[in-house]
Amino acid sequence: MIRLTIDGQEIEVREGTMIADAAARLGIDIPVYCYHEALGPLGACRMCLVQVEKMPKLATACTTAVAEGMVVHTTGPQVDKGRKGVLEFLLINHPLDCPVCDKGGECFLQDYTFRYGPPQGRFQEPKIQKVKDGPISDLILIDQERCVLCQRCVRFMDEYVGEPELLLEGRGVETVVTTVEGRPAQSQFAGNVIDLCPVGALLAAPYHHKARPWNIEREESVCTLCPVGCTTLTTGRDGRIVRVEGRPVVDRNWGWLCDRGRFGFDFATHPSRLVNSRLHGREEAAARTTREIGQWLREVVAQEGGEAIAVVMGGLHTTEEAHQVYRFATEVLGTRRLVVSRDVPGYVPRGLNGTFEDLSAADAVILVGTDPYESAPVLHLRLRERLKNRRAPLTLMGVAPRNLSRSTLPVETLVTHVGQEADVLAAALKEAAGDHPAVAALLSQGAGIARGIDPTQVSQLSRVLREAERLVVVWDGVEPDVEHVLAALAQARQGQTTRVLPTFGPSNWRGFERAGFDARFDALTRVLEDARDGKIRMLILWGADLLKDYPDRRLVEQAYERVEWLLAEGVFVPEGAEHFDAVVPGAAPGEVYGTYVNMEARLQIASPSVNPPGQARPTKSYLTAWAHALGKPFVVDEEWDPYDDASGDLLPEEPLPQDIEAIRAPDLPEGGVELLVSAQVWANGIPSQILEARLEAAQIARISPLDADALGIREVGVIRVESAEGVLELPVRVDEHLTPGRLLVPLGVGALPVNRLRPGVVKVQRLEEVQTP
C-alpha cells in the first residue's frame, strides 16, 4: 500500500493506482475525458492536470501512478490555468451548438467549461469543418465536430469488445472518428459508445432531437431482457420511454449494455402491446371484464376450492408483483399450485448460485451449453474482461453441442451430442474425483462414458475440475441432469469454490421463487398434466406464454383445451388467443416500482419513469378488484421486502445441495440431425420496432456449412423438419460454429415453434433456397 496526500487529505491505496482514482476515492473531482478505469490510462485529453510537489510540470492524474509520500494539489492557480487552457483548446474547433445538442445538460464539456473553463472565447479563426449527424449505424449518429478525440469509443470497441468497428482516421487536427468507408457498425455492444462519449459526438439515433434534460424523467432501472439484469437509466418523456442508458455501479459494473437492451425499450409502446382487456377474444371494458372474472373465480372457489386453480408466473414482472400474486393465490384463492413459466428444464439450487464477483475472481470458467454472447451478452464482456486480466490467468472451457469459441473469446470446447453434456461432465468428474461419495452416487447408474469425445479433452477438463481454486460454471439449463453433476462437483470440490451462473429465463425467475413460486420445471409440468387430466379448472397465466415457451407444445394445448377457465395477464396477448376466456393488460418494466433478481441471485431496484398506457394496470389493481369480487379482503402487503439484511442485496445463502441424484448415460443418436435449442436475446420474441430488422435477422434457425452444402443451401434457405411429433418449416442460415448434424433453433420465437417437435433426431429436407444479395 502507498500513502499519499491529496489536497491535504491522506489516503492509502494499492501500488499502481493512478492519482485520478485515488482522488476519486476521496471524493475529489478531477475532470477527465479520455480516462476510463475500464480502459486504462491514455493521457490524450490532458484535462486531468494536477500539481504534484517536486515535479517540475503539471502532471496528468490519469497516467501518473501514486508514490509513497506524494503530495498532490488538484486546485491552485497553476492547475486552474492548465485546465482552463485545455478547455479552451477543446472548444476552439467545437461548434458550440449546445442548444440543439441531445447531450446538452448532460455533457462533460458543458459541465467542465462551466466549472473550470474560460469565461469567454478568444478564438476568432475559422473552425475545421467535419461531418455532422453522420451515421455510425442505424442506431448511432456521430457529430465529428463535437468530438474531443478522447478515443474512448474507439478503444472500447477495439480493446474491450474486440470488435474494432470504429477507427481514428487522419492525423492531427484533421483526425476524425468514423467507420471504414461509412459501413455501419454491427457490433451488439456498439451502443455503449454513446454512454462513453463524454460530449455530444456520439448520439442515440432513436433519441435524436427527442427531448431536453428538463422535460424528461430519468430513473434508475434494470434491463429485463436477459438474466444478466444490467443496471440502466430509463428516460421517459410524455408517457413514453424514449431512451435507455447504462448505469455504472461503483465496484460492481461499468454500466455496459448490449444494444438489445439499450434500444429494445420500445416493446412497451409496440403496436402489439396489450392496452385493453379482452373477454372471449373481444375487447371489453375493464370493469366488465373484472366483473366476469370475479364471477368465474367465485364459482370455482365455491364449487371446488382454490386448489382447482393454478397460477403460472412469467414474463417481466417484479419480485413484489410476484409476491402479490402469491399472496392473492394462497390467501384469497387458497391454492398452492404456483409455478413459474419455463422454456428449458434445468434448475440451479440457490446454494450453488454464484455472482459476477465470483467470475472476476475465478481461475477457471466452464460454459455448459450456453454461448453468453447470444444468451447474456454483457456476461460475454465480463468474461472478456476477466480473460484480458494478465495478472490472473483464466482457463476457459466449454461443454456444449456446438463450438462456443469466438474470435473475441476463445473457448476450448468439448463438442457433445445433444443431451450429452451431463454425461461428459460426469466423465471428467469421474476422472477428477471418482472416489468421492458424491461422485460415486452420481455415477451409480453408469454415467460418465463420454462416448465419442476426445479423451485428452476429457482429461483436460478433469484437470480443471480438480485443480481450479475458484471455478465458475455458466449453464443454459437445457440438459437437466447437469444440475446433479454440478451438485456432486461442488461437494467433491469442498474447500475450493464452485459456483454456477444460470443463463436461462424468465429473467426474474429467482425473484418469483423468492416470492413463493416453485420455479422447477417439473412443478410446471405437473400443473400442465393435472390440467390436461382435468384436475384443474382454472389456469391463470401471469405474464406467461406457455404455447410459445414450454418445450412440449402438445401438453400445453391439451391443458388449454381441458381447463374450464383460461385467464392471462400480460403486456402482450399470449399465443393461442382463441383459448383464452379473458386477457387483461398489465404493466411493463419501467412502469412499476420493484425489484428484479438477476442470474447472480442479486436483487436490483427499478423505479418507473412512465405510467402504464391505456387500461394497463399494475398487478395489484387486478388482485384487489378480484378479491373484492370474491368478497374477501386483500390489502397489498407493502411491507413485504424481498431483501434479507444478512445477505445484503443477494438473496439469502443456502447450503450446498446434499442429496445427489444418480444420472444415466444418454442414448446417443446414430446419424441424423439433432435438434438443438438455445436462448438468444436477439431472437427472444419480445418485439421492438427500433430493432425490427435486427430481430428478424436473428429469428432464424441455423445449420452447419456441411449440412447446408448437402442440402444445397448457400446462405439462407427454408427447410422442412420432421420428427415423431410433427413437421415444421423453418428458415435457416449457415453458421460456421455448428458441427455437422446439428440444427440450432432459438427459443421463444413465435415463428419458429420448435416446441412442436420432440427434442432429439429429426429429418431435414430443403424446401427452397433464398437468394441473398
Binding site: D158, P164, E165, L166, L167, L168, E169, G170, R171, T179, V180, E181
Partner: protein, 155 residues
C-alpha cells in the same frame, strides 16, 4: 485483388521477424504498383494480413505518403520547410501552380501531375528542393520550375 499481392504479403511477412511489421511495407509495395490505395485495396490488404479493415484504414490515413486518392504519374513534392522558403519555395510552388493550372494538393485533369506540399525534406542544402516520385531534385530556383515537369524520372 491482383494475384501477385498474395505473394507480396507473404514476402512482407517474412521480411521481418514479426508479421505486424508487414503492413507498411506491403502498402508501400502495392501503392508503388497501383499509384494509390483505394478503399478496396485497403480492405484486401487487411484480409491478406489478417487485420481488421478498420485498423488498416486507420494506419494508412495517418501517413502522408500513403495516397487514399488517385494521384498523377508524377507526384511532385515541393518542400515548403523554412530553409526552402528562405530560398524561394513559395515562388517555386506558385510557378508550378500557374504552369499546371492546379492548386497544390491537386492532380492535373490529364492525370500526369500531382502537386503536393512537403514539410522539410532534410535536404536544406539543396534549397529550394523538390521530390519527383520521391527522387530529389534541387536546387530548383523558381524560374527553373519547368525542369521538374520534364526531367527524366527514374522509378
Amino acid at each position: 485483388m491482383k494475384p501477385e499481392w498474395k505473394e507480396w504479403a507473404q514476402e512482407a511477412k517474412k521480411q521481418f521477424p514479426r508479421a505486424n511489421s508487414a503492413l507498411l511495407p506491403l502498402l508501400h509495395r502495392i501503392q508503388r504498383a497501383e499509384g494509390w490505395l483505394s478503399p478496396e485495396t485497403l480492405t484486401e490488404v487487411a484480409e491478406l494480413l489478417d487485420l481488421s479493415p478498420q485498423y488498416v484504414d486507420s494506419v494508412a490515413s495517418f501517413y502522408s505518403l500513403f495516397f487514399k486518392q488517385p494521384v498523377g504519374k508524377r507526384v511532385i513534392h515541393v518542400c515548403v520547410g523554412l530553409s526552402c522558403m528562405l530560398a524561394g519555395s513559395d515562388e517555386l510552388m506558385h510557378a508550378l501552380e500557374e504552369r499546371l493550372k492546379i492548386s497544390q494538393g491537386q492532380t492535373t485533369p490529364d492525370g500526369e501531375y500531382t502537386l503536393l506540399e512537403a514539410e522539410c525534406l532534410a535536404a536544406c542544402d539543396l534549397a529550394p528542393v523538390a521530390q519527383v516520385n520521391l527522387r530529389y531534385r534541387g536546387p530548383i530556383p523558381p524560374e527553373e520550375a519547368d525542369r521538374l515537369l520534364t526531367e527524366e524520372v527514374s522509378s
